[in-house]
């Protein structure tokens, strides 16, 4: 089959040049000593001028982590990680928490400009790359918290948001300004000892975003955090906490990139969401960490714990993720559906090309009566990529009338990749209804033929079909992200078809 040979050739021809976010910013950095110990945990806590309770909290997490074993059950392969051979704190040398953008290092501003992330509030363009082409008139801006290695360097539109009582700031700042909220909710969804990487994060997390939407407030703009790993031999351990009080509504976006390096860097984040009565949180991620080169060298290990608690009645948490980057992705954004009639959603597109590996999915815990969940997962494997959907739907005995629908579709491009589906379904409630469907196939020849016949190139045809395959998920993304995500899909698959 010439198409196959061609595929292999083109896959091999893919160069790093397709990852255009792979540049490195040369900026003076401050590091903690290399390695991980109780002293490093104390160092980070001191650096952040944290209260004693938080240091204790971190130390408990660290003690728990030391007793834990790295999970081996995901179907991903990687050499052992030397946790002592990394920096756990790296920050650009500057005053912590600059008062205005004028105090931010211009080199940093240039970095974000280059990434297409506007940090100046007058830049009312849609905050993400590619959106410049769409008309911006009449659009609400996006408030951005920019996290650079271990610290947040700028947060925009804080004053505008404060008018509605919305708190949107780095979590290190929230610890000082709203300690009662942080203390109440931090670790309430993902406890310190939840799993190996969550425990590690709890011990050494450095920054991340904190969001609080007061009762009855509909957040007037999209909130967004942009994560950038820049320094060598560092890991990024951010912690995000979003609380939507009764009757509130927020849409939160998250983007991320990193320089191209031969070494693997660890990103172990924790995201906690809390939704009270009638509150809605929409959490979207376009994950574009450096995936490694065509030979599988380098790239980010993305080992992330994301979980939301629908505590209130009729609350809703919706996760949408487009996972195109990272050498390895290990991530299961989950919903704990406690409140009656609460709703959990998970929409995911995961692409693995070259030697990327992804083991991702969701967990839906139905606890309250009439809780509903929807899971739509689209996995695309190309090159030598390995893509696993792993999910759990658990219906508790009290979740009367609960409902789940799950659909997992996998697409294979080329015969060296793999697509795997591992759903766990546990139902303890007679009146609950659970449905699961999964399919695996390759792009149909007749679809390709149809497109080619109408003059599309092979690559465009595949792009079109893949975008169609992912449509159910992409339409859940906020407009600006959807545009970027579609392009990313195309770029991620570049060279994977003959």
């Amino acid at each position: 089959m010439p198409a196959v040979t061609e595929t292999i050739e083109t896959v091999q021809a893919v160069t790093d040049s397709t990852y255009k976010w792979g540049f490195e910013t040369d900026i003076e950095m401050e590091f903690a000593p290399k390695g991980l110990s109780e002293d490093i945990v104390r160092f980070i806590s001191a650096k952040k001028e944290e209260p004693a309770w938080l240091l204790e909290w971190r130390l408990r997490a660290f003690a728990a982590w030391q007793k834990m074993e790295e999970p081996r059950w995901p179907s991903v392969k990687y050499p052992p990680i030397d946790y002592q051979d990394a920096y756990y704190y790296a920050a650009p040398k500057q005053k912590v928490g600059p008062k205005s953008l004028d105090e931010v290092d211009p080199e940093l501003l240039r970095t974000y400009a280059k990434l297409g992330i506007p940090l100046r509030e007058q830049a009312i363009l849609a905050g993400v790359e590619g959106a410049g082409e769409s008309p911006a008139e009449g659009r609400m801006p996006i408030a951005i918290d920019a996290v650079f290695d271990s610290v947040s360097v700028a947060t925009t539109f804080k004053d505008r948001l404060a008018k509605d009582g919305i708190i949107f700031c780095p979590i290190s700042e929230a610890v000082k300004t709203h300690p009662e909220l942080v203390r109440k909710y931090l670790g309430s969804v993902v406890p310190q000892g939840d799993n190996f990487f969550a425990a590690l994060n709890s011990a050494v997390f450095t920054d991340g975003s904190f969001v609080y939407i007061p009762k009855g407030v509909r957040c007037p703009m999209e909130l967004s955090t942009y994560f950038r790993i820049n320094a060598k031999s560092t890991g990024q351990f951010e912690r995000t906490l979003v609380i939507a009080d009764a009757g509130s509504h927020v849409s939160y976006l998250e983007g991320c990139t990193a320089p191209m390096r031969d070494e693997n860097q660890l990103h172990a984040a924790v995201v906690e969401l809390v939704a009270m009565d009638d509150a809605t949180i929409k959490y979207s991620t376009v994950q574009n960490w450096y995936p490694g080169d065509a030979e599988g060298k380098g790239g980010i290990y993305n080992f992330v714990t994301k979980r939301g608690a629908c505590r209130g009645a009729r609350s809703k948490i919706s996760w949408t993720q487009v996972e195109t980057g990272s050498a390895i992705t290990w991530k299961y954004p989950s919903c704990i559906l406690q409140g009656e009639d609460s709703v959990g959603e998970f929409y995911s597109v995961a692409i693995t090309n070259n030697y990327q590996q992804a083991d991702t999915g969701t967990k839906m815990f139905h606890i309250g009566p009439r809780t509903k969940s929807t899971i739509i997962s689209k996995g695309i494997s190309a090159g030598h990529g390995q893509n696993t959907y792993r999910g759990l739907v658990r219906i508790g005995a009290k979740a009367t009338g609960a409902r789940n629908f799950t659909q997992c579709d996998s697409l294979l491009i080329g015969d060296l990749c793999g697509a795997h589906t591992v759903p766990y379904i546990e139902n303890r409630c007679m009146t609950a209804k659970v449905e699961h469907e999964a399919t695996t196939s390759r792009i149909a020849e007749d679809q390709l033929f149809y497109c080619r016949q109408r003059g599309l190139s092979q690559e465009d045809a595949v792009g079109l079909i893949v975008n169609g395959f992912c449509r159910e998920v992409l339409k859940e993304l906020p407009m600006e992200f959807a545009v970027e995500a579609q392009k990313l899909l195309q770029i991620s698959l570049e060279g994977s078809v003959g």
């Binding site: 491009i413 990749c417 793999g418 589906t421 591992v422 759903p423 546990e426 659970v434 695996t440 390759r442």
Partner: protein
């Protein structure tokens, strides 16, 4: 008499040490080596706990905690047997072959006791049953005393054969571990009806099948598990299916307090196919578990699987089904469906379908549903004057009978339908 037998893997190992010179084939070096290998595995791993992924949903601790005696004294004399469903019949009592109760004369193929033909089984017995991954296969290999050896030569159509296993109550917990070895030559055909029944004693029935189908062979395997209420039924099938061969199995699990029917089948030649259907029913506090792994190792193969579960009382149902498609298995067509009906508020169903796919030109899908009886269908029947109980009964039976759709053999169909309907008569109205 003697003290209660020691429980757990240690108990089995202790009894093996005492028995090993008396077990069949003790003087055969290859078998002694195989048994001692099995002993090492049993000693190292014991009974799997729920921390072992393959046993996540089925707790074997009631088996591990019970002390079983191996039935050393053969049950002799006449027994009341169920009416034969096939003219050719092999009967095993407590795992031992009973020539006097069987009807195996004048066959064009070999159907005989494993214990009496161990000389002929070197290289065959154990060839398809890896010990390392399968603790219950290891236990069977350690302790087996007998089983059915079926060897159908190439081109022979063997017709029907009934394999009947009866557990007779000796008044104390006991265990038996039959080892069945089935080989079909190229183009051979056999329809096997396997039934298991037993008294009310606590016993462990731990059969292992090794099924080897040569090119173009067709084995149709009906299974009716109707063990007694104190029974643990843990069965394992290891099957190898060569090019253009077909293995169809239809199982009903309608007895025992704990049942796990596990199948590991490999499609090793082009155009091989496998159907694995089952209906599993449980009431009271019973646990039923269907676990299958299908290995597509050659191109152009097809597999179909439908598993139906009905749970009443505080019963628990488990379905674990894995389809592996290897890189060379292009043009694979794989389909799997598992559906469960919960008839009571305290029943629980755990389901884990799984696809692991390394070839791109494949068509694989699975589906799973779990829920109560459809209220609309019930309403439809009631509105046409069908009483509630009868309407429920009709819907449940229709649901279960779907597992046997496409089963053309009348003998198997009748036996399996009878097993399903018998269960419903015993448990359906109470639930």
């Amino acid at each position: 008499m003697t003290a209660a037998p020691q429980p757990g893997a240690a108990g089995f190992l202790a009894r093996y040490q005492g028995l090993k010179d008396h077990l069949p084939g003790a003087r055969l070096p290859w078998l002694a080596a195989l048994r001692s290998d099995a002993a090492a595995h049993v000693a190292a791993r014991g009974f799997p706990t729920r921390r072992v992924e393959a046993w996540k949903y089925t707790d074997l601790s009631p088996v591990a905690q019970a002390g079983f005696a191996e039935p050393l004294t053969a049950v002799a004399g006449a027994l009341t047997l169920p009416k034969p469903r096939c003219a050719v019949r092999a009967v095993f009592v407590d795992g031992r072959f009973r020539a006097d109760l069987s009807a195996l004369d004048g066959l064009a193929y070999r159907a005989a006791s494993v214990a009496q033909h161990l000389d002929a089984l070197e290289g065959m017995l154990g060839a398809l049953a890896p010990l390392a991954e399968h603790p219950m296969t290891a236990l069977n290999t350690l302790m087996f005393e007998d089983g059915l050896f079926l060897d159908v030569p190439a081109g022979v159509d063997a017709g029907h054969l009934e394999l009947l296993s009866i557990a007779v109550d000796p008044g104390r917990p006991f265990a038996f571990h039959p080892r069945h070895v089935i080989r079909l030559g190229a183009g051979a055909k056999l329809t096997l009806l396997e039934s298991a029944i037993g008294g009310s004693a606590q016993y462990l029935h731990n059969p292992v099948f090794e099924i080897d189908l040569a090119e173009g062979a067709v084995l149709t395997h009906g299974r009716a598990q109707q063990e007694g209420e104190g029974a643990f039924h843990l069965s394992m099938i290891h099957a190898r299916i060569a090019a253009e061969a077909r293995y169809d199995t239809m199982a009903v699990s309608a007895g025992a307090r704990l049942t796990r029917m596990e199948i590991h089948a490999a499609l090793t030649g082009p155009k091989a196919s496998c159907h694995m259907n089952s209906a599993q029913l449980a009431a009271g506090r019973a646990v039923v578990d269907t676990t299958t792994a299908l290995d597509h190792a050659a191109p152009d193969c097809a597999s179909r699987q439908t598993c139906k579960t009905v749970l009443a009382g505080q019963a628990r149902g488990v379905f674990q089904g894995k389809i592996l498609v290897r890189r060379e298995a292009q043009k694979t067509d794989g389909y799997q469906m598992n559906q469960a009906l919960l008839l009571s508020e305290e029943a629980e169903m755990d389901s884990k379908p799984q696809l692991e796919i390394y070839a791109d030109d494949v068509k694989c899908s699975h589906g799973a549903t779990i829920g109560a009886l459809d209220a609309d269908s019930l309403f439809y029947l009631r509105s046409r004057g069908v009483p509630a109980d009868q309407a429920r009964s009709m819907l449940v039976q229709a649901f279960l009978h779907e597992a046997f759709e496409g089963l053309e053999d009348d003998v198997l169909r009748e036996a399996l339908t009878a097993a399903v309907d018998g269960w419903w008569v015993r448990h359906g109205t109470a639930s």
